[in-house]
């Protein structure tokens, strides 16, 4: 890897220089001030990145689906292949009237989009874009992501309940059942990797794959389980039963309009990104690239992530939707035993490697 290209090293260099500059200027508590400035800038950059990611992913989803369906997708807005269609859509959503149903539980109704969006932002904090580009390389790393992504179910249920619409209510109930049951196989499926590495820290998990991706090891089984459970966790087809257009009109977000609907949509995409990023980190070596590939780590990481994102999109536009009771059957009777089996396999693998 050529250090010259590395964004993370540049970041480290700049923050180091910032600290020196502050010290040279004689600012009191220079270390603390440098830390605050560094983290604020990182957080700001992250926010910009998240917005751009969501915009890009919505456009990508449209293009991927369109080309799978013999269409072009947006072609006109902004010139080249309709690149600014999503921006135009966001402006439209901002200008839309914000409708709250008369009999709705107004506060819960307003709160739900925030509750779904904030945890998906927090998840980005521990995502290791590059060696030195991690918001906070916490010891609990992965646990933070899973912990906060569980809050999404609360928000969807809040949205479904407060709308005072039967379709929304059923969407909310469905998602409560679904996300609670798929959380367990999701966490268990990455447990194999955690056992091998012996840490929850994202950077250590990536570094442990310097000798080879976990994808090409018995952890492949865990990877498949993770993709299945992860698809269910972000409510994408074939597990999109909380939305289920053909049954529940639009499920939990039926009564949402304008910016609040936009938040639900954005969080769906940011959650998809997080799930994909975790897959790239845990099974595909994160920012690590082969020696012959002189690309910055962040580009390598994003390429891997979008490979998974594309896989999820491919699923979405190919598969039909499962039925709600079959979905629960699958989750509890198939996926859960298999993820225990996965832990067993990983355990043997760990023993053999010693």
């Amino acid at each position: 890897m050529n250090a010259m290209y590395d964004l993370g090293d540049l970041w480290l260099f700049l923050t180091g220089k910032l600290g020196e500059l502050l010290a040279w200027l004689g600012v009191p508590f220079a270390g603390v001030v440098a830390f605050v400035i560094e983290k604020s800038v990182y957080a700001g950059a992250l926010l910009v990145f998240i917005s751009l990611t969501a915009l890009w992913m919505i456009w990508m989803e449209r293009k991927v689906s369109a080309h799978m369906q013999l269409r072009y997708g947006p072609m006109w807005t902004g010139g080249w292949h309709g690149w600014s269609q999503t921006i135009a859509d966001m402006i439209k959503l901002l200008l839309k009237e914000d409708v709250i149903p008369e009999k709705a539980d107004r506060w819960v109704h307003r709160l739900a989009p925030i509750v779904i969006f904030v945890p998906s932002l927090i998840g980005f904090l521990v995502i290791p874009f590059e060696k030195n580009l991690i918001g906070a390389d916490l010891d609990v790393g992965i646990l933070l992501i899973f912990g906060f992504s569980s809050i999404a179910v609360l928000s969807i249920f809040m949205g479904g309940w407060s709308s005072n619409n039967k379709y929304s209510l059923m969407g909310g109930l469905r998602s409560a059942a679904q996300m609670v049951s798929y959380e367990i196989p999701l966490v268990l499926s990455v447990l194999g990797v955690i056992m091998t590495v012996g840490s929850l820290k994202m950077s250590e998990i990536v570094n442990a794959q310097a000798g080879g991706w976990f994808l090409f090891s018995p952890h492949l089984f865990g990877f498949i389980l993770y993709i299945v459970a992860g698809t269910a966790e972000v409510n994408r087809t074939p597990f999109d039963i909380p939305e289920a257009e053909s049954e529940l009109v639009s499920g939990y977000n039926t009564e949402y309009s304008g910016l609040k609907y936009g938040f639900f949509m954005l969080s769906e995409f940011t959650n998809t990104f997080i799930i994909s990023a975790v897959a790239a980190t845990f099974f595909m070596g994160g920012w690590l690239a082969p020696k012959w590939l002189p690309l910055p780590g962040i580009v390598v990481f994003l390429l891997k992530t979008y490979l998974i994102v594309y896989l999820l999109m491919w699923f979405r536009w190919t598969f039909p939707r499962l039925r709600v009771d079959r979905l629960m059957d699958f989750g509890w009777k198939v996926l859960l035993p298999l993820s225990f089996l996965n832990i067993f396999i990983a355990g043997i693998w760990v023993l053999l490697k010693k």
């Binding site: 689906s65 799978m68 379709y167 074939p238 289920a244 257009e245 939707r321 009771d325 079959r326």
Partner: protein
């Protein structure tokens, strides 16, 4: 102070029952169809189909219009299979007037009816995919249907409401390149059927959603007067083209696919196989089509003699019957249309009980109803 009722396991069912009005505006009711559902959780305990939102009084209008004008009206019964409706609309007056339709016109009619059957089944295939949650088949189906519509456009000038049949024949002869184009279409279309199979029919989730769902036994299907692919899906080998033949269908050799269990999967597969059989019929018709007239000698003013007739044809949706009473004037005295969708959909009040709300969509979609025909 009002006391909260205590919910126990004995009375919890009544507390949980929820009434849901599915439709008339709903993404998967295929038009303005209203289903009143009562549910315990997601399980249906009571279902009542409610129709009439698209009622345009076609039968009343028919009494005020000439027989020729009624052909144009018939386009609007089942608006995605207008050629078949034309067929039913002209057969009655022709039989009353004892018109001998020229052979070429009969062949053209059969070709059109069969092409329309494929077009109608393609719409079924696409929308059924959406009902089950797969979006992509819809676009594949419409890509292929577009080619059929191009063929229709070349003969009739219209793409949806063709008004192509005439009492005594058809409006115009085939254009010069029609036969070549149709052969080209069949060559193009047959491999696509395999593509559909890999895309949707053999998908594990799709089979999981449809096999065994909404099963209707053969006796039940006959008792509810089902017809068309729905009836054949239940294992009853009955096709009006074979069993009560009309036009020149007796001259063609084709199979009548049937299902075994009468579930959504069987009804679906019958339609997929029927598309292939339709291409077989079209191929034979194109090979055998004779030269000659396309219109019989009929008077300019159609005045069938007083009398009555009941004719029926195998429309894509099933048994399309027309009961026609003529009083000798230029307008029919009474024209009752027995739309297959109207009869097929009535069974919903019985078979939905006990299934989940997702199955409601699967079963309703598998019946392949068109509200224009249900309400007329």
């Amino acid at each position: 102070m009002k006391e909260n009722p205590i919910i126990t396991t004995d009375n919890c069912a009544e507390f949980e029952e929820m009434t849901l009005n599915m439709g008339p505006q709903h993404p998967s009711t295929h038009g303005v169809f209203h289903l009143l559902l009562k549910m315990n959780g997601e399980t249906i305990t009571y279902a009542r189909p409610d129709i009439g939102y698209l009622h345009r009084g076609m039968e009343k209008l028919a009494e005020k219009r000439t027989y020729q004008a009624n052909i144009a009206m018939s386009d609007r019964w089942d608006y995605i299979a207008a050629m078949s409706n034309n067929f039913a609309a002209v057969l009655g007056p022709e039989k009353l007037m004892k018109v001998q339709v020229p052979k070429r016109a009969e062949y053209i009619r059969v070709i059109m009816a069969e092409l329309n059957r494929i077009a109608s089944h393609l719409i079924f295939f696409g929308t059924y995919g959406i009902d089950i949650g797969a979006f992509t088949p819809f676009f594949y189906a419409f890509r292929d249907r577009e080619k059929i519509l191009d063929l229709f456009e070349s003969v009739s000038g219209a793409r949806l409401t063709f008004n192509y049949f005439r009492i005594g024949g058809v409006a115009q002869d085939l254009p010069a390149d029609f036969i070549a184009n149709t052969k080209e279409f069949i060559r193009f279309f047959r491999p696509k059927l395999k593509e559909y199979d890999t895309l949707l029919s053999q998908n594990v989730i799709f089979r999981d959603r449809t096999v065994g769902v909404g099963a209707v036994s053969a006796e039940e299907a006959v008792n509810w007067a089902w017809s068309g692919p729905n009836l054949r899906g239940s294992g009853v080998n009955f096709d009006i083209r074979k069993d009560d033949t009309y036009s020149v269908y007796s001259e063609f050799d084709f199979a009548v696919p049937t299902g075994a269990n009468g579930d959504c999967w069987d009804r679906y597969m019958v339609r997929m196989k029927e598309m292939y059989e339709s291409t077989v019929i079209i191929e034979q018709a194109l090979a055998k089509i004779p030269e000659g007239e396309i219109m019989a000698k009929v008077p300019r003013v159609i005045k069938p003699p007083a009398g009555e007739i009941y004719i029926r044809i195998e429309a894509p949706k099933g048994d399309l019957g027309v009961y026609l009473i003529s009083d000798g004037s230029v307008n029919p005295y009474r024209m009752k249309v027995r739309g297959p969708s109207f009869v097929n959909v009535a069974i919903l009040q019985k078979i939905l009980k006990g299934w989940k709300i997702a199955d409601v969509v699967a079963v309703l979609g598998s019946l392949d109803i068109v509200l224009g025909e249900v309400d007329r």
